[in-house]
Amino acid sequence: MTTTVIDIHDVSKRYDEGPPALTGLSLDVAEGEALAVLGPSGSGKSTLLNMIAGLDRPTEGTVTVAGTRVDVLDETASARYRRSRIGMVFQFFNLLNDLTVLDNVLLPAQLLGTPRAEARQRAGQLLDGLGIARHAGAYPGRLSGGERQRVAVARALVNRPALLLADEPTGALDTASGADVRRLLADLNADGQTIVLVTHDLALAASCATRTIELVDGRIARDERTAAR
C-alpha cells in the first residue's frame, strides 16, 4: 500500500492585489513519486511549492505533508518541520558563500541538533555519493554551477527528508550541468526519494518525473503520470 506524503485539499491562496494565486487546488503525492509542476509564469507554481515547504499559508484549505498539517504551523514549528521533513533545492543554489562546501551541507543537520560525528559522516557520504567530496573544503564561489547544485542537493538531503523540493533546479545551469542535475534527481527518485520539482524545463520533467501536473491560473489544468523511465 502506497503512503501519501503530500495531501493538499481544496487550497486557495489570495494576495491583497491581483487574481488568486491558487484556486481550490487539491493534490495527493505518494511516497516515491517524482512530481513535476509545470506552468507559465504566474500560474501558481512557486506559491504551491511555498505552501508545501511551510513558507506560506493558504487562505483556504489544508496542506498535510508526511502526516503534519503544515498550514497551521507557527513560525517555530514550521522551521522544525522544514529541518526534519523536507529538503529544498533552489534555482540559484542559495549556498552561503562564506561557508565551505562541507559547512554548507552540515548546516541543516546542525540546526536540527544532529550529533556532530553523525552529521559529518552523513555529509561525507552525500558528498562522496554526489561526486563532490574533493570540494568539501572549498568555498561555493569556486565551483561550477552544476557542482554548486550538487552541493545544494547534498545539503537538502543531509537530514534524510521525506520530501525533496526543487525550485527550477536547472534554471541557472548550462546544458551540460543541467543534464547532470537531471540525472542526479532521477537517480535519487530511483532510490525512493519523493520529489516535487517546479520547472519550466520540459526535459527535466520528462527525464526524472513520474508524474506531471500543469498549473494554469492557480488550477491544475493537466495531471499525467509518465511512463516508467
Binding site: 513558507l55 522551521a79 522544514r82 529544498m88 542559495n94 561557508l99 546542525q110 540546526l111 568555498y139
Partner: protein
Amino acid sequence: MSALGRVVRAGVGRRRVQSVVMALTTMTAVAASIMAGALVIVSQAPFDHAFGRQHGAHLTGSFDGRKATFAQVAATAHAAGVTAAAGPYAVVSTTPRIDADGLRLPEGGAPLAVTGRADPHGPVDDLTVTSGHWATGPGQIVLDADHWTAPGILGGRLTFPGLPGSPRLTVVGLARSLTSSAGAWVAPAQIAALTAPGATPSYEMLYRFSKAGSSRQIAADRAAVKAAVPAGALTGAQSYLVTRQTVNRETATFVPFVVAFGVLGLVMSVLIVGIVVSGAVSAGTQRIGVLKSLGFTPGQVGRAYVGQALIPALVGAAAGVVLGDLGSVPLLGQAESAYRTGPMAVSGRIDVAVPAGVLALTVLSALTPALRAARLRTVEALAVGRTPRVGRGRTAALLAARLPLPRAVTLGLAGPFARPVRSATIGAAIVLGALGVTFAYGLGATLDGIQKGIDRDAPGQVQVLSGLAPPPPGSGRPAPSGPPSPPDSAAVGRLIAEQPGTRAYFGSGSTRARFAGIAGDVEAVAYQGTYGWGAYQMVSGHWIEGPGQIVVAHRFLQAADARVGDSVTLLGDGRTARVRIVGEALTTGDGGMRVLTDAATLTGVGVQAHTDEFSVELKDGTDRAGYLTALNRALRSVGGEALANSADTSSTVVAMDAITVTLTLMLILVAGLGVLNTAVLDTRERVHDLGVLKALGMAPRQTVAMVLTSVGWIGTVAGLLGVPTGIALHAYVLPVMGEAAGTRIPSVDLAVYHPAQVASLACGGLLIALLGAVLPAGWAARTPTATSLRTE
C-alpha cells in the same frame, strides 16, 4: 523634479528604517555634543565671564559713616583709575530672627549685612535676581542667593528683635552678587528702621578700575580710594581677586570630569555618525551600479548619495539642536549653581558649530564610499551588491563552525568578521559607552563617599547650637524672642549630658590660628569632650587623640611643606607650641587649610575657641523627635537650640551627579543607536542569507540568537575593554578633581570598583549591544522566509 532629485527622494523613502535611524543618531549626537560642548565652554573661566557680564566690582569699599560724609564717599567715584562706580549704599549690620518654617540662617545668630540699594542694576555689580523681585518699598528684603538656599524661603519673614519696634521684613526676592557685595538688600528708605539708636550706618562703594588684573594693581587702586576720603574713613576694601580665586578653585573640580565626558561624547558622535552614514551608503553599492548603468556620472552618484544622507541628517541635526538646548537648561542650571555665576545659556556658536560639524562629517562619510562605489566599473558595482566582499571572515566562519556551540550562535560569532571595519567601529562606540558608564558609576560612588566624608564635619544625629538659633523646621516650637543671649556652652553641655537618650557628645568651635611658616591665619576647629567618635574620614594617619595633636587638610600640608608625622609650631598669644600632625583629613573647609585639634592645644598657647556647636549621638532606640523636643525645652533657659542633623548635600556634588547621569544616558543612547544601525544594516544586507537559513530550518529563536550573538560578543569584548579604561580614567580624573578642590581623596573613596560591580559593569557593553540589536533581530526573525528568499 530632476532625475537626481527623484533618486535622492526615492533613496530616503525606500530605506525608511535606515533614514529614521540616521536621523535619530544625528539628533542624539548633536544633542549630546551641544550639552557636552556647552558645559565645557561654561566651565572655562566661568567667574571671569560672569564677572564681565555683571560688571562685577573690582573693589568693594566700606566706609565709616562717622568719619566720612555721603558726599565724600560719593566723590571717590572720581579717584584715580576708577572707570565706573556704584553707591554709596548705606549698610547696617543687624541680627534677624527667622519667622518661617524651613528657614535657617547661614550661621546661627550671625549678624546680617543689609545694604540699602534702590536698583539691582547699574554700571557696577549688576545683580542677578534669581527669584522673586527686587525690594522696592518698606517691609521688603532681598537675600543673597548663594547663602540662602532653603526651599520656601521666598515669602518668609525676618524680624529684627534688637531694634526699636522689632521691624519685620518679608523676603521678596533672592539675588546674586558675584563678589557677595551684601548679605541682603532693602530699599534705601528701609535702612533707617534697621539702624540701632545712636548708630550710624556705614557706606559701601563699588568700583571698577582701568587696571585691576593683579593684587598689586588692586592695592594701588585701594590706595587711590583711601586717599580720597578722610583718614581712617576707609574701613575695609574687598578685592574681587579673593572671590575669583575661591570660585575658580571650586570650578576646577568640575572641569576635569566635564571635559572627560565632553570628549567622550564628541568622539562617540563622530564615530557613530561616520559608521551610520558610510554604512548606509556602502549598503547601496548595487543601486549605485544600477544608477551608473542608466547613465549617472560618478559626480552625480556622489551628489545623490550625499543628498540622501543629508536629508535625514538635517532633520536629525535640527531636532538635535532643540533637544540639546532644552537638555542644557537643567545642566547649565546645575553648573550655574555650582559655579555661583549668573544665568548661563548655550552659546549661539555651539548651536551653529555642532550641527555644522556633524553635517560636514555626514557629507564626508557619505561622499567617500559613494565616490568609491561610483568609480567602480558598473558591472563590478552590480556584482558587489549588498553582501560583504567574498572572502572576508572565512577563517572566522571556519573556526566558529568548529566550536561546540549551537550553529545559530557560531554563525553569529563569525558574522562581524565579514564587515571588520564596521564591527571595529561599533566596538569602539560600545567601548566608549562602557567606559562612560564605568566612569560615571565610579564618579558617583566616589562623590557619595566624599560627601559622607565631608559630612563628618557635623557628625551625630543631633546638632546643638549654643546661643540664639532658629527653631527646628516643623517643630512647632515658638521661636526665641528678644536679643541674643550670651552663649553658655558649659551649661549646654551639661544639659545634653543629662538628657536621657544621649549616648555620646562633644563640643566644637572655630577660631583663627597661626602656624610658623604659613602666611596668614587658618581656621582651627577646637574639640572638647569625647570627640573620638566624631572622626573625619582620614586620607592618612589617624584622628586626634588628645592635646598636642592636630589633623589637617591637604592644602595645609602643602603650605607647611609637611607630612603626617611631622611637627609644626603653633603661634599663640605670646607663646608657641610644637604640635604633631597625626593625620590628614578629608575636608575642603577654609579652602583646604582647616586644622582640627583638641581645644586644650589652642588654650595652651592662649588662643580661645568658643564652643558653639555640639554633636550628639543618641542611644539605640531613642526617638529623635521626642529627644529634640525635650532637649530644646531644657535648653531654652541657656539660649541653645537642638536640631536634627540632616546632612546637606553639596550643590557641586548634586550638579556633578545630575550632569553625570544625563551625559551617561546620552552616551548609552548614542552607542545603542550605533548598534541598532549596524544590526539593521547587517540584517538587511544578509536578508537573503537569512531567508536561506530559515528555509533550511532555522527557527525564529535561532535567528534572534544569531543576530544578538553577532553584536553581543562585540559588546562583551567592548565591555571588557571599556571597563578597565573607565576605571583608569576614574583613577586619573578623580585625584585631579580632588587636588583642584584642595584635598586628596581617601583611598577608600577611590576604591569603588569591587569585583561584583566590575562584573556588572562589564556586562554593560553586552547590554548596550543587545538593546541596540534586539529590534533588528526581531525584524529578521519575523520577515517571511519567502520574502527574504525573493530579496536580491
